[in-house]
């Protein structure tokens, strides 16, 4: 008997029992839909995280005081990252473009009777370039203002909206801890980074903040919260990291543990990748279990079907069906059940992924490998779980089968 006839026969049987076929397929539908949806959404989450890091600025390295990897944790390493370090890096490290030290503090910003606790960042004129901020209106802080400690400020779009509404903030004055700052620029919106709104900020000259507000200095000079550095290009990041580390070790006279850490986006990204990857694997495992359950459902129904159709099997054998004819017929039935369930499931999963992509910031998209995986797994399940019932059918003794009731 040729394959076309076998497929026709199997389809006729399955469509003759629509409700049962549909219910049997349900396990496969749910399993496949979840595999495709989970992988698609997981990849979307990873892409989302990657984009978030890109918003920090191109090829940025962050130098933060302290060292999480220090072997001797009991020794409290002094946090001594200072403005001088930033200057030294700018002058002596060849593989970098720009350096922007920043000193930051959460503080209330007041305008008229409005008050908002905000991240106040003291920095230099290089900040906008390193961190990829654009000025929408007015101008950014200048070098002279940083040198003189002028009380001027550039306001983030979110903070401006909170304090000024639709009013033009340029030329207005806001107060931070009693000190009055003149707004000279409005930043273009940058969106949030891992839940922190990057537009809810007030940028002021670093010297103004350190001398007049925080007053945080160490024996080595003006202390900074961290230093952002932009490497010349992506390939220079590793070199920049080594050069900065060496320079700071010299400057800080380090013999044992570093008292600072140089972090790149890639490292942070790989951690996030690992986390979302693990999450995806877990979700896929759960989806895989539902595929397994779907497969067992198919096996169960096929066994019932063999029992119910014993007489039919006997008749087919009596008129000349061989064992392999019967085996193939039942195997094809289970393959059709699992494959059709798989295809419907994949379509539902893909639909879910597209919908999530539209409705949430996760840039989820249908993953081709996920579909390939789902298709091959469901085909395999059809064969694997179909073999036992099909063999049982094929091995039936035609006389016994014909006599059964």
């Amino acid at each position: 008997m040729d394959l076309v006839e076998s497929v026709k026969m199997a389809t006729a049987t399955l469509t003759g029992n629509r409700l049962r076929s549909a219910l049997t397929m349900l396990g496969m539908i749910i399993g496949n839909a979840s595999v495709v949806a989970m992988i698609g959404i997981g990849e979307g989450a990873q892409r989302f995280a990657a984009d978030q890091f890109k918003s920090l600025g191109p090829n940025v390295l962050f130098i933060v005081p302290g060292n999480d990897n220090a072997r001797n944790r009991t020794l409290n390493i002094p946090k001594t990252l200072v403005l001088g370090d930033a200057k030294a890096i700018a002058e002596q490290v060849p593989s970098i473009n720009d350096v922007a030290p920043q000193l930051q503090n959460q503080a209330p910003v007041v305008y008229g009777n409005k008050r908002k606790s905000t991240l106040v960042i003291g920095t230099t004129e290089r900040f906008a370039i390193v961190r990829d901020y654009n000025v929408a209106r007015g101008r950014f802080i200048t070098q002279q203002e940083v040198q003189r400690g002028t009380p001027v400020a550039v306001i983030g779009s979110k903070l401006a909206e909170t304090l000024f509404g639709t009013k033009n903030p340029l030329g207005e004055r806001v107060r931070v801890r009693g000190l009055s700052f003149k707004i000279i620029g409005l930043l273009a919106s940058k969106g949030s980074f891992l839940g922190n709104n990057q537009d809810d900020v007030l940028l002021v000259p670093l010297s103004t903040l350190s001398s007049r507000l925080t007053g945080r200095t160490s024996p080595y000079g003006v202390e900074v919260t961290f230093i952002s550095v932009s490497a010349k290009d992506k390939s220079q990041m590793a070199a920049a990291k080594t050069q900065i580390t060496n320079l700071l070790r010299l400057r800080h006279k380090i013999v044992t543990e570093d008292d600072f850490t140089v972090r790149s986006q890639d490292e942070a990204l790989s951690i996030i990748g690992a986390v979302t990857g693990a999450l995806t694997i877990m979700l896929v495992a759960i989806a895989g279990i539902s595929l397994l359950v779907g497969g067992i459902g198919i096996m169960n129904i096929m066994l019932v079907s063999v029992t119910e159709r014993t007489q039919e099997i006997g008749l087919r054998k009596a008129i000349g069906a061989t064992q392999s004819d019967i085996l193939i017929q039942f195997l094809i039935e289970s393959i059709i059940l699992s494959a059709a369930g798989g295809i419907i499931g994949i379509m539902i999963g893909a639909g879910t992924v597209v919908m999530v992509g539209v409705l949430t910031p996760l840039k989820s998209s249908v993953s081709m490998p996920a579909i390939a995986l789902a298709v091959s797994v469901s085909g395999g399940i059809g064969v694997f779980f179909g073999v036992v019932p099909a063999q049982r059918a094929a091995r039936l003794d035609p006389i016994v089968a014909l006599r059964s009731n």
Binding site: A12, G314, I319, G320, I399
Partner: protein
């Protein structure tokens, strides 16, 4: 052994369709064995029309399964149309059943979810007959049993007699050398029985070898040879049907 060859007008020696030599069939193992067939020797020539009779449990169905290649003898030899089938494996037997034998059962055994036409086409699917020819031959077979106007009806839309006629069409569609029927009229009333017997008679007249099991003397009387079973043994292998009334076994 019936050595006369009165049915064969052309050749002086009729071809032997069935030859059983010392066939035994034992069911079960150990103490509960049943000797369903004991040392059966029998020859049926091409073109014969035989009835197998005997009490319930005497081995008639066992015999039919044997000559229908659904079962193999425990010991002994069976030659069907010259081929030794006792030694064949399962798939060779399936092939023989498909090409050489047509079965008609008491319970019709039609596939309920498909039409009469598709039921009749089924044996040809297993014989790899091309689709177009399949349909042509199935229609011809249904016309031969008088169901040319019921091609697309499903079994549950047909009477018992009509269903049995579909089953006969299915049995003859692969042009077998032997038509076997185990109590084909057992589930039918006397009028329908006559219609079915007429079809068997016509097929036999056209040269088909027919062997049927029956309990009814009326039915057996339409055949030309009666084989009588008792306790798994052939006790009369060539009774004249017209002698049946006075014969009580």
């Amino acid at each position: 052994m019936p050595s006369d060859n009165s049915h064969s007008a052309v050749s002086h020696k009729a071809a032997v369709i069935i030859r059983l030599e010392g066939v035994n069939k034992v069911y079960g193992l150990g103490e509960t064995t049943v000797n369903a067939l004991r040392d059966v020797n029998l020859t049926v020539n091409a073109g014969e029309y035989c009835a197998i009779m005997g009490a319930s449990g005497s081995g008639k169905s066992t015999m039919m399964n044997m000559i229908g290649c659904l079962d193999r003898p425990t010991t002994g030899h069976y030659y069907l149309d010259g081929e030794a089938v006792a030694e064949m494996d399962d798939s060779q037997l399936a092939h023989v059943r498909n090409r050489k034998i047509g079965f008609v059962f008491q319970q019709f055994h039609l596939l309920s979810q498909v039409s009469a036409l598709e039921n009749v086409m089924l044996p040809m699917i297993y014989a790899n007959v091309p689709a177009a020819e399949r349909k042509e031959r199935a229609i011809a077979a249904l016309q031969q049993v008088g169901l040319g106007d019921r091609l697309n009806n499903r079994p549950n839309q047909l009477s018992g007699g009509q269903q049995q006629r579909v089953a006969i069409a299915r049995a003859i569609v692969n042009r077998p050398v032997l038509l076997l029927a185990d109590e084909p009229t057992g589930a039918l009333d006397s009028k329908t029985t006559q219609e079915i017997l007429e079809i068997f008679g016509n097929l036999n007249t056209k040269g088909m070898t027919v062997v049927m099991v029956t309990h009814e003397a009326e039915v057996a009387r339409c055949t030309r040879r009666v084989i009588w079973f008792r306790d798994g043994q052939v006790i009369h292998e060539n009774l004249k049907p017209e002698d049946l009334m006075q014969a009580t076994f």
